[in-house]
Amino acid sequence: MAWFAKRLLGILLVLLEIMFLIFIMLRVIPGDPASVLLNEHVSPAAIEKLTVSMGLDKSLSEQFIDYLKDALRGDFGLSYYLHKNVGELIYEAFPYTARLACMAAVFAWSFGIVSGIVSVMYHDRILDYLFRGLSLLGISVPIFMVAMFLQYLIYYRLGMLPLNFNGSFVSLLLPAVALGWDSAGSVARITRSQLMEQMGEPYIDTAKAKGLYFSRAVLRHALRNAILPVITVMALQLSGMLSGAVITESIFGVPGIGRLALTAIQTRDMPLLQGTVLFSAFLIAVGNLLADLINSILDPRRGLK
């Protein structure tokens, strides 16, 4: 329990630190939100008026204390552009990101684990090379390339799936594959390398000596021992994906957290950007915590440290 409390405290501190960092960074980088909003129809008087109304004329410390006070009460400010509470905007956007992340995760994990296992079972044969090549492609090709290729092949050539997200389940398939692609690659590679390691262990020889089929030895014995690091990676991947897939969401027009963060950056919408970054940090911190928990439960030797 003490361990748990310590970790929670750690998360809180990290979040505070991130709030502070992003707050300062946003005010240090060039780009004044008032000028972006006024864009071409700009005048010094208008900028000044708007700066005051955004509260950006106050001193930095004053601004930060105001922000912190409101945040502790659960109020993360109003978005400059969307004129809505940041919490509410995130609450609206998160379901889209969540759906996308879950689908991507299901694709990445099933594809990754299966291809990892197949690779080991057909070690150094054609299927192994094929899947190894695929997983290498997975981790090395950037998401936007995968996305464009999928759009070209699946939408344009084959006409099987819609080009962009339109609210329906099928229109999320392409973005999910694009997003899950590189995770699939790394899961496949870790599964394979962990399994290979296990295959050299004496207990596998014992299993084989007992007359078990090779596949059974892999699935029942080796996999069980190999899966632990894979699960850790998966938990981290999921929290990463849940915290927003900026590129995938903007290519496919998914109105999720990543998309919201991107708009916020482009328009220098400070409250919104602070909110989305904080939310992502929170998800990742919680994801890490859960990964550790799962790990220690599956492998009691490691314990909770």
Binding site: Y81, H83, L242, I294
Partner: protein
Amino acid sequence: MRKRCLAFILVTLLLTMGIAGCGSSSEDEKNSANDGNTTVTADEDKTLRLAIGSDIVSMDAHRTTNDYLVPMNVFDTLFSIIKDENGNTEIVNSLVDSYEISEDGLKYDFRLKDGIVFSDGTPLKASDVKFTFERILTLPESAQTDFVIAIDGARELLDGKAEELTGVTVADDLNFTITLAEPFAGFLSQLAAPSTVIYSEKLVTEAGDDFGNVPEKTIGTGPYIVKEWNRGSGLVFEVNPLYWEQEPSAKRVEVSVMESQAMNMAFQKGDIDIIDCLRLDSAVVDSTYKTEAYKDRLVSVDRVGLNYFTLNEKIEPLNNVKVRHAIQLAIDRESILNSIYGGDGKLEDGIYPSGCIGYSDENQGWLKYDPEAAKDLLKKAGYADGFDMEIAVDSSANGAVNSTVEIIAQNLSDIAIKADIKTMDHASWLDLRNSGDMPSFMALWLLDINDPDNIVYTFFGSRENTVIRSNNYPDSEVISRVAAARAIVDEEERMEEYAALEKKLVEEDAVWVPMFSLKHLYVKGERVESFTPHWAGWSDVYFTGVTLK
């Protein structure tokens, strides 16, 4: 075993972090999908599908200077602008039924058309006009104050010294009078710009912060209503059943946000009906659309807008007029126009682009590419060995701007000027430009209203304006002439003054390098019978300009 169970529970917990959200949203999705289906089947062949490159940031005309899709199609202005075959624009009544202007050009008596209602049935009243203009001046983030600043009392209201806009008096539900602080011939044009669309006092007040953000609360008198706005993914419009004019051809309009390549694929597949060539790579436009196969489907409109390359007179040695003249002569505008824009445009030598009222043939044709003469000028100015300068590029600008600036830098290096291209993101770029310290940049001014004042006043109308556009033009006499020109009542005299100012600013003082005005090309799909783009060639279009087969 128990531990394993616990682990399983935890994994499930992690997954449910996401699925918790999925539950609620999939219900939404079912509803909207159902909604969508019923309408689509009814009006399948009357649906117009368009694509835009990035999502709009607001539906409220007062809070944007870029995104006029909603203001143009969901709201109405007092006047509108039409363009004839010869490219001349004309101001015609829209919400206004009739009007009279006093002889001194100060008083405008208007009468609204009778019986116009907002799409929820709320009647349009003269007091709504007053409310709208007051909102433009009092909203802290208002980006449109320039459009009503000519009205008497506007300055006071803007500065917080008055409670109401005294220059607008409402006689009854239909009649109102606007008094200007000084005569301004471009005023009616301003009332035709999407920046001054008329809002309902009652509806805007009731909606509060939701106005411009929530579709159901963003209600206008225009031909369409916003049905959905899915941030980042697009908008859906439907015909306004209470619209006061002829019902448009497209009954439903779906606008999707797409990347350039995706847009092209979707158009090729017939999933969007009109494609905007400015959003495509020019190589794709050349190889695919400027071909025999698409000859009859290309729609072209002259953009009433000037591409200019500006020089900051605060920065040494750009403060030397000879140096600026040399730069004007050194840039091979024709090659840029041909190689980057496929020749789809026209060289411009002044301030007012072709199609703009006040465009003067006499001020054209004087600027020729002449690197030798440029070198001589540099020598005379004492910079025979050249100098270093910086060109700032906004990374959100399209690729053509980047290529143009690269050629400019190349041209400048031919006369020994070493130009360093600095790319920065949009916000930083604006910040630097507004500070008055940006050494030079290439940009486009697209006219909001068809009046020379719209461009010349923006850049040279006051000391502040010259700073904020980073040109820092120093001649205060010329600056006050620009400001005074808007008040000249006699139209001929006003145009003469504008032509004289243009000559002084560009030809004599070399305040910038006028580059060119461009054509805006669109390709219409097979379902589109006819398509009329915006008169000034904006990317935002009036849906009423589209007739479906």
